[in-house]
């Protein structure tokens, strides 16, 4: 079995400016933040980001790396409005494809199934159609037996990505990933919808003993690289390994970006984790 382990910087060395990147997790939950931080250390820019957005989008927006965003929302969950995302939108910093949460999911399904689109009811009648003039509709070839009507749906285009970044609780060296929290989110779909997928994990394991089979979310055939990075979702939640770091998230949301970068993002991942820990110790 091939050993796919690599460092976060090695992952980013395989990414190019102008790429379409999918980022797993949801809002401020189990986001591959260590991979995002590695991206921030690189020169990779001009990105199209596909995400159920949280601080991943906020940080990339603050750093000016986004050309286009595909999203249904960007939130820090306990802080409903992501400040850096808001600022970027209000200054017209990048292009936005704003779709509904379900449309987004079906776009991932279409890509994972190598289909050009999936029909969805969501979107019809809303301004999602107005702000996305490129969205097309598709009419059912079947009449409804009761009404005789052929319904017309949104043809949600496939959200195919050059690369996906996800974070899970455990992974093995060949790219099998396990989630241990209550929700898988859509990380398996992100991996299957991308040409290359990189999985970071809290802990690398040799094998999954006494496994609950449903927890083995990500399969190695859809994974290119594996990164062991404890605390790699920080400050987002990664239960049961750790909850969201609420005080730190508040700090992130209220600190001007240059100041935050200077204090926490000046060095590598180890430096970040250590600076975050120091900040907590100083608060006591």
């Amino acid at each position: 079995m091939s050993d796919k382990t690599m460092t976060a910087d090695e992952v980013v060395s395989r990414l190019r400016s102008g790429m379409t990147l999918g980022i797993g997790g949801w809002g401020s939950r189990r986001k591959p933040m260590a991979l995002v931080r590695a991206l921030l250390r690189s020169q990779v820019t001009d990105l199209t980001i596909v995400s159920y957005g949280g601080p991943d989008v906020g940080m990339l927006a603050a750093a000016g790396r986004i050309r286009k965003l595909v999203a249904a929302f960007v939130t820090l969950d306990s802080i409903p409005l992501e400040p850096h995302y808001r600022a970027a939108r209000q200054s017209g910093a990048f292009e936005l494809t704003e779709v509904d949460e379900a449309m987004f999911m079906w776009g991932l399904h279409a890509a994972a199934n190598r289909l050009p689109f999936m029909p969805v009811r969501a979107g019809i009648g809303s301004d999602v159609m107005r702000v996305n003039p490129g969205l097309r509709t598709v009419t059912s070839p079947y009449e409804d037996t009761a009404t005789g009507i052929r319904e017309t749906f949104v043809a949600m285009p496939a959200l195919r990505m050059d690369a996906a970044l996800v974070h899970v609780n455990r992974a093995d060296r060949s790219g099998n990933g396990q989630y241990l929290g209550p929700d898988p989110y859509f990380d398996d779909l992100f991996c299957e919808a991308a040409d290359n997928a990189y999985v970071s994990c809290e802990r690398l394991v040799d094998r999954f003993d006494d496994v609950v089979p449903q927890t083995l979310l990500v399969n190695r055939h859809s994974v290119t690289g594996v990164v062991e990075t404890p605390g790699g979702a920080h400050p987002t939640s990664c239960v049961p390994d750790h909850d969201r770091d609420e005080p730190f998230q508040k700090l992130y949301a209220t600190t001007p970006w240059p100041e935050f970068t200077e204090r926490f993002l000046y060095g590598d991942e180890k430096a970040y984790q250590s600076a975050a820990q120091t900040w907590h110790e100083e608060r006591r």
Binding site: D100, E101, A102, R121, G125, S126, D127, V131, P182
Partner: protein, 268 residues
């Protein structure tokens, strides 16, 4: 299925209740009328998921399940369906939640940054979408919700900034937009009610425009009209939102929301 339809027993503290029942309960607060108005949204809904967003709707949904709508399903706010005592009874991660939405076995009560006379709702942004004056949440699940399962709304601070003639970005689809979009949009579209800190509204008019359905005690029609950016239909006789029962008040105050989260959303 019997367990799911049986009313939940009141929680026991173990100790006998002290005999302090003689003084009458304090009269209901505005927040408590709001709780009752929200709870009523889920009456006779059957075995569906109640998805409340906001403190008052959450208290209302839990009150409904503990009293007149025991068959309702509720989540822990994350990925589990839970019973009245918080014990898990099912798994509902986001991917399955979206199936619950499109399957229609759900009644959500969402917030609204703007809402118009036909029930179009905006939570996305204020101003021009291309470059908003204020970026808000984004459309989130409002488009899928409104086309697939009943959607009610909760507005804790009724004002002309929220109740507007026209919303800036249609996130939740209103009756006129659904009608214009055709049968795919109207098929499962329904907005049972809008609850605010002033009263309850519905769309029971010939053209499905907003109607004042009840006033919370202490609120006048003039107050509602002054705080609404369009003219809702006002019947000749406007009823008051119903009184909570003594048992409901005790449940709200002692069991469901002892910390008074409802008062933070709707100050007395």
């Amino acid at each position: 299925m019997t367990d799911a339809t049986r009313p939940s027993p009141a929680p026991s503290t173990g100790a006998p209740l002290p005999d302090t029942r003689t003084p009458p309960l304090l009269p209901p607060t505005r927040a408590e009328y709001c709780v009752i108005a929200c709870a009523e949204a889920w009456r006779d809904n059957g075995e569906v998921l109640a998805s409340p967003m906001g403190a008052v709707p959450s208290v209302g949904a839990r009150l409904a399940r503990r009293t007149f709508a025991p068959e309702l399903l509720l989540t822990d706010g994350e990925a589990m369906l839970v019973g009245p005592d918080g014990t898990p009874e099912g798994w509902l991660p986001y991917r399955r939640h979206l199936t619950m939405v499109t399957g229609g076995r759900r009644h959500v009560m969402m917030g609204a940054s703007q809402i118009d006379r036909f029930g179009n709702q905006n939570i996305s942004c204020i101003g021009d979408w291309e470059r908003p004056a204020r970026q808000l949440l984004g459309v989130r699940g409002a488009p899928v919700n409104t086309l697939n399962n009943p959607v009610s709304y909760w507005v804790p601070k009724h004002s002309t900034r929220v109740f507007v003639e026209k919303v800036d970005m249609i996130s939740g689809v209103g009756y006129d937009s659904a009608a214009e979009a055709g049968p795919t949009a109207t098929r499962y579209h329904r907005i049972p009610r809008v609850v605010s800190n002033l009263g309850v509204f519905d769309f029971a008019t010939p053209d499905h425009s907003m109607r004042l359905a009840s006033l919370h005690p202490g609120v006048t029609v003039e107050e509602v009209l002054a705080a609404t950016g369009f003219g809702p239909t006002v019947p000749d006789e406007v009823p008051y939102t119903r009184e909570p029962t003594a048992a409901e008040l005790e449940l709200i105050r002692e069991v469901i929301d002892p910390q008074g989260l409802r008062d933070r959303e709707v100050p007395g």
